[in-house]
């Protein structure tokens, strides 16, 4: 495939600066269903286009994708708005799809997208309650909304490849297909995700609880999220648990 073709794919399987397109789009779209569709479909379009190419992508593209992933992982550290946090993490995660073998990439894209989908739902829920979803402005969600906080914590952990979430197996798969240089990039990316997740959770759930008036997630809602996360874990174990 021509360089131009790869650059086109770079819009969907993010390559900086083409990644700016997706990030600008996601942060401007306020319609929730549309946001969810974007999170689910965007990398799949890229993978469909990539499937039209003959053979594996050239090494320079893979290195570029790794650098993009690193850039957005680093930038993730300083993001306080949950919607943007999702966009940056999606960019960083989908960049890694360039490393994965074509046969499994669609499944791994799904594993990366699904926790972000749940996170987008939770973000919308926070925005409905408080008018915005920023860290630091309503510290202490764990005190005021324990059920919501529990679901949020587990979803964020699933998004940043914490086992037994399927994203963990996707990361392992990326390691298996990486050269030593790319492996060190993956190490840095994973480390930055953990750091960013801890900063996000610390800014949202930890604190004296200054928003007591907030209404917590209903029991049924919490169980629905739990069921979705459990399905994700079981699905990941069944389809990707044997990482190869």
């Amino acid at each position: 495939m021509s360089t131009l073709g790869y650059l086109l794919i770079g819009f969907f399987l993010p390559l900086f600066p083409f990644s700016i397109g997706f990030n600008a789009l996601l942060t401007r779209v306020t319609n929730l269903p549309l946001r969810l569709i974007l999170l689910l479909a965007w990398p799949q379009i890229g993978l469909l286009l990539l499937a039209q190419t003959d053979g594996a992508p050239p090494a320079w593209i893979v290195t570029w994708a790794m650098a993009t992933s690193l850039l957005y992982s680093l930038r993730l550290l300083a993001v306080r708005e949950l919607g943007r946090w999702i966009a940056f993490l999606a960019t960083a995660a989908w960049g890694l799809l360039w490393l994965l073998p074509a046969a499994q990439a669609a499944l791994h894209a799904l594993w990366f997208s699904l926790p972000l989908l749940l996170l987008a739902l939770l973000t919308a829920s926070l925005e409905r309650r408080f008018g915005g979803a920023y860290t630091g402005i309503y510290q202490g969600l764990a005190q005021a909304m324990p059920r919501f906080s529990a679901v949020l914590v587990i979803t964020v952990l699933a998004a940043v490849a914490t086992p037994p979430a399927p994203t963990f197996f996707s990361m392992l798969s990326a390691f298996l297909n990486a050269t030593p240089g790319l492996m060190s990039g993956l190490v840095a990316v994973w480390l930055l995700w953990t750091w960013a997740a801890a900063r996000l959770l610390q800014g949202l759930i930890v604190g004296p609880g200054t928003c007591e008036a907030a209404v917590d997630l209903e029991r049924a809602g919490a169980w629905t999220y739990t069921a979705a996360l459990l399905t994700l874990v079981v699905g990941g174990a069944v389809f990707s648990g044997g990482v190869a």
């Binding site: 700016i20 914490t162 994973w190 930890v206 648990g241």
Partner: protein, 558 residues
């Protein structure tokens, strides 16, 4: 019966699930959790009994050969499972009342049960995927246990130090697992160990020997988990969590490094340089941990550094090839440190009523710092100090293994025993006592009992964990260095120790009032500021966050 190992993680997992589903009162939560912890402990006791009876190693795959989820029944897993279940049960029972007035009671016990399950899976994991899942989860669960008080920002801040250090250690283990998979095409530990035994010189990227590279990566993972120097800052600072969590952490979790090295003994036996490196890191950690422990004026931090020093010694034991001794050490340290943490509250409470310190020789020496008015002849005491410990140590070791002097690692550890014993006797020289000879006799007797006990038990551990005598010898051989160099080092160390103690006695005899010089004061400042390592890490962290912020501003947040 050995299939019971499958139940080990299942019981605490079921307990965690039951607590979540029932959402019962505190009494119900405590009953469910302690019931499960007791059952788990009983199961581990049965399993250890079976293992002691000579049962063979077996692997049970839960979801088939290709997926994660296989557990191994072998001496190491059965012994470690008993230790974990025992400490977990004690922590559970202690927490029932300790946490009674805290919020998040059910959450705490759920996390405690999940942590127990993760630890049990870690020690019984029969494949690399299961091991990785459990290894990662422990760090995450510990982060939330340390942050049990969700109102406390500082608890989470220091909990984060633990999480990120653990993640720094998790990732080398991931790379090691990947390299092993790429070489042997399987995640199964048994198959990998067989593969490496058949082809120990197999190479990986850049033509590097696979065994050495993997062993070094596993050692890095162990260093982070066991708070080795430069990866240690999380340990003395994570005291904001509840006391039972501190006990669990210092008595159990931090010891995982020693376990990990033992689990991969079949790989370390084909290495050499890595074990020397492990020895050096352990030695440096033991020394720095002990020095920082002595120079801290914060009791909790001091305890943290004490654990760091002990972990250094444990890792060092691995470095000299005394793998099973490291397991014995981690169990002994776990019991001792767990007791210290769990009884701290009672001690403080009692001390408020009565200091409870007997006004005996030890009190006048340690607390009142009154040295003896009359002393024994210094040369005689120096001779006793140097001769007695070495005689006791050599006899004790000779009793359990006649070929003791063939093992370089054992000889290295002997030096530490010698120095420790000598230090003990040196104290008597400075103590005020009506009957100094009786005091010396008692100390020598105690020292002999401790050394005999330590030697015998460690020998039993050696035979139980590594029944193959040839394999035991191979580990020591892998850790060995060239004999001429070793003999030269032994000679130099012996001279240093003998001259050092003679000088110490001589200086003590002629001791006068002398102000410490500027070098000592600067050194003390360096120790008390913990070598500025925490400051350095904080500065690096702030710099990285600042770069991230600037990048976001330049790129308009898209």
């Amino acid at each position: 019966m050995d299939k019971l190992i499958l139940l080990l993680p299942a019981v605490p997992l079921a307990s965690a699930l039951l607590i979540l589903l029932t959402a019962g009162t505190r009494t119900v939560v405590a009953r469910i959790s302690i019931g499960a912890a007791t059952l788990t402990f009983l199961l581990t006791a049965i399993l250890l009994g079976i293992s002691l009876g000579g049962a063979e190693t077996r692997v049970f795959a839960l979801f088939g050969e290709r997926t994660a989820g296989s557990l191994m029944f072998d001496p190491l897993s059965s012994l470690m499972a008993l230790v974990i279940a025992g400490i977990s049960l004690i922590v559970h029972v202690y927490s029932v009342r300790y946490m009674a007035e805290e919020s998040g009671y059910a959450r705490f016990f759920t996390l405690l049960d999940l942590m127990t399950a993760a630890l049990l899976v870690m020690v019984a994991a029969a494949d690399l995927l299961t091991l990785l899942v459990a290894w990662h989860l422990i760090g995450v669960l510990l982060y939330f246990l340390l942050g049990q008080d969700t109102r406390s920002q500082s608890a989470y801040r220091y909990g984060f130090w633990t999480l990120i250090t653990y993640r720094i250690g998790d990732l080398p283990l991931v790379i090691a697992a990947v390299l092993l998979y790429q070489a042997f095409g399987t995640w199964s530990l048994a198959a990998i160990f067989d593969g490496i035994a058949l082809n120990p010189h197999i190479q990986t990227y850049f033509g590097l020997p696979l065994a050495e590279v993997v062993a070094a990566l596993i050692a890095l993972a162990a260093f982070a988990r066991s708070a080795q120097f430069l990866l240690h800052t999380w340990l003395p600072y994570t005291m904001e969590g509840p006391t039972p969590v501190s006990a669990l952490m210092h008595a159990g979790i931090v010891n995982a490094g020693g376990f990990l090295i033992n689990r991969f003994a079949a790989i370390y036996v084909h290495t050499g340089g890595v074990l020397h490196w492990i020895f050096v890191v352990g030695l440096v950690t033991a020394i720095i941990g002990s020095v920082l422990m002595l120079t801290q004026n914060d009791v909790k931090k001091s305890l943290g550094y004490s654990t760091m020093g002990q972990m250094g010694f444990m890792i060092m034991e691995c470095g000299v090839g005394a793998f099973s001794l490291a397991i014995y050490h981690l169990i002994a340290h776990g019991v001792f440190k767990g007791t210290l943490f769990l009884s701290a509250g009672t001690v403080i409470g009692e001390a408020r009523q009565n200091d409870g310190v007997p006004k005996d020789d030890l009190y006048t020496f340690v607390v009142q710092r009154r040295p003896a008015r009359s002393r024994q002849p210094w040369l005689l005491m120096a001779a006793i100090t140097l001769a007695v410990p070495i005689v006791v140590l050599v006899l004790a070791h000779w009793l359990v293994a006649e070929d003791f002097f063939q093992k370089q690692g054992a000889v290295v550890l002997l030096f530490f025993g010698w120095v420790t014993g000598a230090q003990l006797l040196f104290s008597t020289y400075r103590m005020q006592s009506e009957n100094p000879l009786r005091l010396i006799a008692l100390i020598i007797f105690s020292f002999t009992v401790v050394v005999l006990g330590y030697t015998m038990i460690s020998h039993v551990f050696d035979v139980f964990l590594y029944p193959d005598e040839q394999f035991r010898a191979s580990i020591y051989a892998a850790a060995g260095i060239d004999l001429r160099w070793f003999d030269a080092l032994v000679g130099i160390m012996s001279v240093v120790i003998v001259v050092g103690w003679l000088r110490a006695y001589y200086a003590e005899r002629n001791a006068g009032v002398k102000r410490p010089g500027p070098v000592w004061l600067n050194l003390y400042a360096l120790f008390s500021r913990e070598f500025y390592i925490v400051d350095l890490y904080s500065r690096l962290t702030r710099a990285l966050l600042s770069v991230a912020e600037r990048l976001n501003v330049w790129l308009r947040w898209v």
